[in-house]
């Protein structure tokens, strides 16, 4: 006889699997959902673990991106650098220049580093074409995928510069370079054609080295290259470590969130699979007793029952791996967008480890009760299904019977106490489901609060721009880089002031400044007038209230080693001012180094945009139309602001939170479904008696639902503080990973009524799981149930 394929044992296994179809299906579905959740959670955790490294390795990224002067280092010289000691791979030379394109609406894009490549492949920096195709002829351009959005799509056209006769470029695709070797690509001849006296063509070489793990090694590699070419030929080099640092910092904020969801998913999967399988074996004790009575050995009985659990669980695990992979793909694509990395895939070992661990858990969960059944004396095993139950839970029935509720409800409420272990597993499942729901709700609100706090100027009802239509139509990217103002800001200001319906307004200029102690430039927002309506969320100190003041971010304070009250020297063009830090704002823009000051401190600065609040009862649209008519002769215009579009990353994280929560809630509900199926099966005779005594189908449903309502409520009451605590722990970690503290508006997102409602989530989860078996119980034939033992 084979282990359990043919013969008596095989028949027992097959009949056991086939006879208990509901149980079999529940085991398969619960295992499938649990495994799918674990695959998704595991994949995301793997993907978030060094996403840049994965993308960099996949693209064979460049350790050093080097720019050479072709006049000093010709092709032959550069060719020779490939042979340098330590260089393992290289690509180039590619012609490179910088263009300052203007979009179809006249909006100025930031300066783009344009590289000439005839195809996206190569030994180094193998580009990932995210959409469209590669450039095939002059006049075509491929942009970095970071530019893709509603304002720039495949087919969009750009003028290479604002010169009247400049070349029109059609965007034919979007590509991603993990090494960030360029902002745009075109055919080499096109790049040479677009070069100008101000932006001459230079040569780009990409290198990989055998040792490039540290800054020191990269510096040494750079020196080798510099020594191999004539002095001054190496114009500049970009280390992949800098790019990695920036990418990891962007990704870091989402990692705690994904880890929290991943761990929740894995813990819940273990609980559900364990309780489902052990419950299924535990309810078969009487059948086990009969098998032993007719001659099955304890070992055969154990094998038979482990197999009966493993077969549906095996099917569920296989389906779960497939489902998990299908669900993980869109999530990984979202993750990919968040991280700006190249294509991410489910790690192969997740597809191996998750099912292996799931099988192990199923095996152990089935083995424990099966061994217990195997050890039971035959008479005892048979008696388990027949004898009156032990006194467990009788006190609960006594107590519940006193409640002023309908009898079916009180009877149901007391039922869980008969099976404390099963009830505990059920409670954990519901509690974890509620934790996930509470956490997801809080996270979504926090992310939305971050979105609102990030762009305070979006709160203004009307915006007036003195730089022409570009600022309005070309999206946020070009807003700050609008064309030089064509209107006199003083006249624009006067027009706004004179316009009926104006409540408050302030002007804003965004300029690059240098700050003592920080290398390179940082972006400064310089405000004119009362800017309190556009103030950032303050973490400490206060918003600008006059000249000589400076508001900075957490990262700025850390980077410069300053505190509120300290002074900092800020230079705009030739004007250097010493400003006092008066506040720490929640501001992560410009890598967290964005500063805010009064425009009066810098004589050269003029406001480019005005943000206006209208008086109550004034229609923003009508106001904007009238103001625009007044501003048009000045060369400016006004428009009413629509509701701020949320940032991509926030939308993606919201979607991920919702999907992951739905999965976890489904798994929790399946756990409830399984427990209630077991309970209903065990109680089918009692339910038959109740129905024979006159319990209506509706009362039967209320009895079954009441049997999980208490657990749902308790699970909710445990889960809500759990989710609340998880939110309170994860959000600051996310903030720190992004280099900032978080303001109360982002952290304190729950209110009491909402928490009370969330506590009901446990009941909803429990009810969802119990509804189906409650219907079965109500429909079960009473006469058959009465004969059932």
């Amino acid at each position: 006889m084979s282990r359990w394929g043919t013969g008596a044992l095989g028949r027992i296994v097959r009949s056991g699997v086939g006879r208990r179809r509901v149980q079999t299906v529940v085991i398969a579905v619960a295992t499938m959902m649990a495994v799918a959740s674990a695959v998704v959670a595991g994949s995301l955790m793997v993907a978030t673990n060094a996403p840049f490294d994965h993308a960099f390795a996949a693209q064979h990224g460049a350790h050093l991106t080097v720019q050479f002067d072709p006049a000093k280092a010709g092709a032959a010289r550069l060719e020779a650098t490939r042979q340098l000691d330590g260089v393992t791979a290289s690509a180039g030379p590619y012609p490179i220049t910088t263009i300052h394109p203007v979009d179809g609406h006249g909006g100025h894009l930031p300066g783009l580093t344009l590289v000439g490549r005839s195809d996206p492949g190569g030994a180094v920096d193998h580009l990932t074409l995210k959409s469209g195709r590669w450039a095939r002829k002059p006049g075509e351009i491929v942009l970095s995928s970071t530019f893709a959005g509603p304002f720039l799509k495949t087919g969009s056209t750009l003028k290479a510069s604002e010169a009247a006769n400049s070349r029109t470029l059609t965007v034919v695709g979007f590509a991603l370079s993990a090494s960030r070797t360029a902002d745009a690509w075109a055919l080499p001849a096109q790049v040479r054609g677009l070069a100008s006296k101000d932006s001459p063509v230079t040569s780009q070489m990409l290198y990989r080295f055998d040792s490039a793990g540290t800054k020191g090694q990269i510096t040494a590699d750079r020196k080798k290259l510099a020594a191999a070419v004539p002095s001054g030929a190496l114009l500049g080099a970009q280390s992949y470590l800098d790019t990695k640092h920036a990418a990891d910092q962007g990704a870091a904020a989402t990692i705690p969130f994904l880890i929290a969801f991943g761990l929740l998913g894995i813990v819940m999967s273990v609980i559900i699979v364990g309780s489902v399988v052990s419950g299924a074996v535990g309810t078969s004790l009487r059948r086990i007793g009969i098998l032993k009575a007719i001659g099955f050995t304890p070992r055969e009985v154990v094998r038979a029952y482990v197999a009966q659990a493993l077969i549906p669980a095996g099917v569920g695990i296989a389906l779960g791996v497939v489902l998990g992979n299908l669900l993980a793909v869109p999530l990984l694509e979202d993750t990919e967008q968040v991280y700006g990395t190249a294509s991410l895939a489910v790690a192969w070992w997740v597809d191996v480890v998750v099912p292996a661990v799931a099988l192990l858990i199923v095996g152990i969960a089935a083995l424990v009760p099966a061994l217990r059944a195997g050890r039971l004396r035959t008479v005892e095993a048979i008696a388990v299904g027949r004898a009156p139950r032990t006194g467990r839970g009788q006190w609960a029935h006594r107590a519940a019977g006193r409640l002023p509720l309908p009898r079916p409800v009180t009877y149901g409420l007391a039922s869980p106490f008969a099976h404390p272990v099963r009830t505990a597993a059920l409670l954990l499942a519901v509690a974890f489901g509620t934790v996930a729901t509470t956490f997801a709700v809080g996270l979504t609100q926090s992310l939305n609060a971050v979105g609102r706090a990030s762009d305070p100027e979006d709160r203004a009802t009307v915006t007036a721009v003195s730089g022409g239509p570009a600022a309005q139509d070309s999206g946020p990217r070009s807003k700050a880089h609008g064309a030089p103002p064509s209107a006199d800001p003083a006249k624009v200001r006067a027009a706004i002031k004179a316009q009926a319906g104006t409540a408050t307004y302030y002007g804003l200029s965004q300029d690059d400044v240098t700050v003592a102690g920080i290398t390179g430039s940082v972006q400064a927002s310089l405000y004119q007038g009362d800017s309190s309506s556009g103030s950032y969320e303050m973490l400490s100190g206060h918003w600008l209230s006059g000249a000589g003041q400076l508001v900075v971010s957490t990262r700025f304070l850390e980077r410069t080693g300053t505190r509120i009250g300290d002074t900092v020297r800020v230079t705009l063009e030739k004007d250097t001012e010493t400003l006092r830090i008066v506040g720490e704002a929640f501001d992560t823009s410009d890598d967290g180094l964005h500063i805010h000051a009064d425009i009066a401190d810098f004589a050269a600065a003029e406001p480019q945009v005005f943000y206006i609040e209208v008086k109550p009862g004034v229609s923003p649209g009508t106001y904007a139309r009238k103001l625009s008519a007044a501003l048009k002769p000045l060369g400016a215009q006004a428009f009413a602001n629509s509701a701020s579009e949320q940032e991509n990353m926030i939308i993606i994280l919201d979607a991920m939170a919702v999907l992951l929560t739905l999965m976890l809630v489904s798994v929790a509900s399946l756990g409830v479904l399984n427990s209630v199926v077991l309970e209903t099966r065990e109680r089918v005779h009692d339910l038959g008696v109740c129905k024979a005594l006159g319990m209506s189908p509706r009362q039967t449903v209320s009895l079954v639902l009441a049997s999980v309502a208490g657990i749902g409520l308790l699970g909710g009451l445990i889960g809500v503080p759990g989710g609340f605590a998880l939110h309170g722990f994860v959000l600051p970690v996310m903030g720190h990973a992004a280099g900032t503290d978080l303001p109360p508006s982002v952290l304190d997102v729950y209110d009491a009524p909402q928490l009370a409602l969330l506590a009901l989530a446990g009941i909803v989860i429990a009810m969802l799981g119990a509804l189906l078996p409650a219907g079965w119980a109500a429909r079960a034939r009473t006469a058959t149930a009465l004969r059932t033992e």
Binding site: R389, L693, M695, T782
Partner: protein
């Protein structure tokens, strides 16, 4: 007299190809009558019981109990009908092990929405009559078979049903307990309770019933009234 049970041309088939498990059968039971249903295994006794209680529906014919045509009722209406009009006593008692004796007895009353105090008073009254008051707080598992069956009878009577159905009420009892239950049923019959008693126990049928029908292969083979038999 009022007819409590009226079966008109009732047939029950479980499989359309097979012979009917019961019928065609036409039968009436008058108010206050104690009808014993006897017959060998498979004769259709349980099928008859299920049809009268509304636990099953006839393939053909009409079943009227306490003036209500029950074969056309919905499950919900049937449940309401059962709890109001029928008390059931089973061979294996079918008490709920996790409820005390008094909770078991009160359960059908509570299902009808009877106020707690009223249900408790009625249960107390029945326990007193049936001599089980001292077991009120006990659980069924601790009682003897006879005591459990008394509890089951009390539960069956709590809503003052028009009809008491007893399915082999002494089948799981020792002789002494069986005698107890017999006396109890006899007392109930004397008190005017309409009873249908399904049993293999002919002495029980003779002692308690005013009329006995004997079923063979689903057909009425014999219908005797006690007076006629005597």
């Amino acid at each position: 007299m009022t007819q409590v049970i009226q079966l008109e041309g009732v047939t029950k088939r479980y499989d359309s190809a097979d012979a009917p498990a019961l019928g065609p059968l036409t039968l009436t039971v008058e108010e206050g009558e104690a009808l014993a249903v006897t017959g060998p295994s498979g004769s259709g006794k349980s099928t008859l019981l299920n049809l009268v209680t509304g636990l099953d529906k006839p393939t053909e014919g009409a079943v009227t109990v306490a003036g209500q045509r029950i074969d056309q009722l919905s499950e919900h209406a049937l449940a309401k009908f059962r709890r109001a009009q029928i008390g059931m006593v089973f061979q294996f008692f079918n008490l709920l092990d996790d409820l005390t004796v008094e909770d078991n007895i009160q359960l059908p009353a509570q299902l009808t929405g009877t106020p707690r105090r009223k249900a408790a008073a009625r249960a107390g009254e029945l326990m007193e009559v049936l001599g089980i008051t001292r077991h009120a707080r006990a659980y069924p598992g601790r009682l003897s078979g006879g005591e459990r069956q008394r509890v089951a009878v009390a539960r069956a009577l709590v809503n003052r049903p028009a009809l008491l159905l007893a399915d082999e009420p002494t089948g799981a009892l020792d002789t002494a307990s069986g005698h107890d239950v017999r006396e109890l049923l006899l007392d109930l019959h004397r008190g005017g309770q309409t009873i249908v008693l399904v049993t293999h126990d002919l002495p029980l049928a003779e002692a308690c019933a005013s009329r006995t029908i004997h079923l063979v292969d689903g057909h009425l083979a014999l219908d005797t009234h006690a007076e006629a038999a005597r």
